[in-house]
Symmetry: C2
Subunit: 232 residues, 2 copies
DNA sequence: CGATGGTTTGAGATATATCAAACCTCGTGG
DNA sequence: CCACGAGGTTTGATATATCTCAAACCATCG
């Protein structure tokens, strides 16, 4: 009985490419780790020592300029893969936004294992291609969208990605209501805006009846149609 | 004697993972194609039918909003891979910026071939991971940098990526002078700015002695140090 | 209850966009 | 050979979205 046997992301993470025996081998080089909100798993520019799978929680990937401006360049959810295999350095830090559990490997071990398991590499390739698609879509937002469009797009994406993926195929209806894993400042860092601008857009969308804000971290989408239009 | 035998990117593209026999098999499902500047190889939102390797030339990957705003989300050079294997649709158009030659596969054929050649998939994974890194770095530029910083960063990146990679390892000195494969409008579409702002930054950098502009498409980097500082 | 950290609101400053005109460059045809 | 026109580029004047700075506000927790 290994940790993998009870792993909740067993069927969705890249590990799903492996059979029982292979999984046992992978398990033997892995280590579980818990992270509290704000705790970092890796730092920008650091030698790429670790890679990991997200079991539980939400983490941000972020870079910054010398003078302290920050940009969140990615957000990862359960079953997502973290880190830079087959490379020497990580271009961004990885920090937990919520309580999180990850399944960690040293890059050395993981690289070696992956090279011997093409099915695993295939899953990783698929995941990486998907992440690249998503990242490029985000570039349109950062390069060309207004503050209002950015915030609306952001809320829609959140409502889609925060769905608790039960093992059974709960067929991915976007949420009408959810708790943001981000502070206002972090939302600003995702969208390339300032905290004040984000706050103003939130209140505007609320006053226009498109969303509701029951509490600081909670969002309810009242008029999804309208929000889609607002998202440009 | 196949087309691959004389291919100039033979040793740099993902094909370098294959031996002579495998290469012959790959060659049999490939097709060469020439593109003139402005010609498109795929369109945004289209079913993902083709993938390709760039042999020669520079191409842009771009998306846009309904109301006509455009954002270039990637630029590909010789030996780069184009398209979305293992996926159903392409999220961005692919258009030649210069005369270009590509080596095209149907996605069906390529997917099948790749699944049987792990070494090829491994190369593709490495390339995709690198592209993801580069794209995320670009997000910092789009989200947090000023117009001046963007243009300076752009020129530095150009000077690094336009190096003619000879077969022998000409060890990648960035160019002091090069011809832009972009119009001013396209530079604006890469940087998320307007054409006027780009133009003004070019003339400013020139007047400050950091660069020279011998002609519309040519750029000479006079003070690389200064440009790096300017890039933020 | 008061302190603290995050958030919202307000007033003003500023970088970039927008609109418009002048300016090159280069190819075409008289 | 020169005049012309067209497309792209630069320059200028103004508008505006977003940022900046500052204060008020609000939940939370000791």
């Amino acid at each position: 009985m290994t940790a993998c046997d009870t792993c909740v992301v067993r069927n969705r993470a890249i590990c799903s490419a492996l059979d029982a025996g292979e999984l046992a081998a992978l398990n033997s080089i892995s280590r579980r780790r818990s992270l509290s909100p704000g705790e970092s798993l890796m730092w920008e520019g650091e030698d790429s020592i670790l890679v990991a799978n997200v079991i539980d929680g939400v983490l941000k990937l972020s870079t910054g300029t010398e003078d302290g401006r920050e940009q969140i360049v990615g957000v990862v959810y359960p079953s997502d893969f973290i880190g830079r295999p087959f490379g020497s350095t990580t271009g961004h830090g990885v920090t937990a936004l919520t309580e999180a559990h990850v399944c960690v490997f040293t890059r050395r071990d993981f690289d070696a294992f992956a090279r011997e398991h093409p099915a695993l590499e295939h899953k990783l390739l698929q995941r990486t291609l998907g992440e690249l698609d998503r990242t490029r879509r985000w570039m349109l937002l950062l390069g060309r969208k207004s503050a209002g469009e950015r915030v609306a797009s952001f809320l829609l994406e959140m409502s889609e990605r925060l769905v608790e993926q039960g093992c059974q195929g709960t067929h991915d209806h976007p949420l009408a209501r959810f708790t943001l894993p981000f502070s206002r400042q972090q939302v600003a860092d995702v969208l390339g805006l300032t905290i004040e601008t984000v706050s103003r857009q939130f209140t505007r969308l609320k006053s226009e009846g498109l969303i509701d804000l029951p509490s600081r971290r909670e969002v309810a989408i009242v008029d999804r149609e309208g929000l889609v239009i607002e998202a440009g």
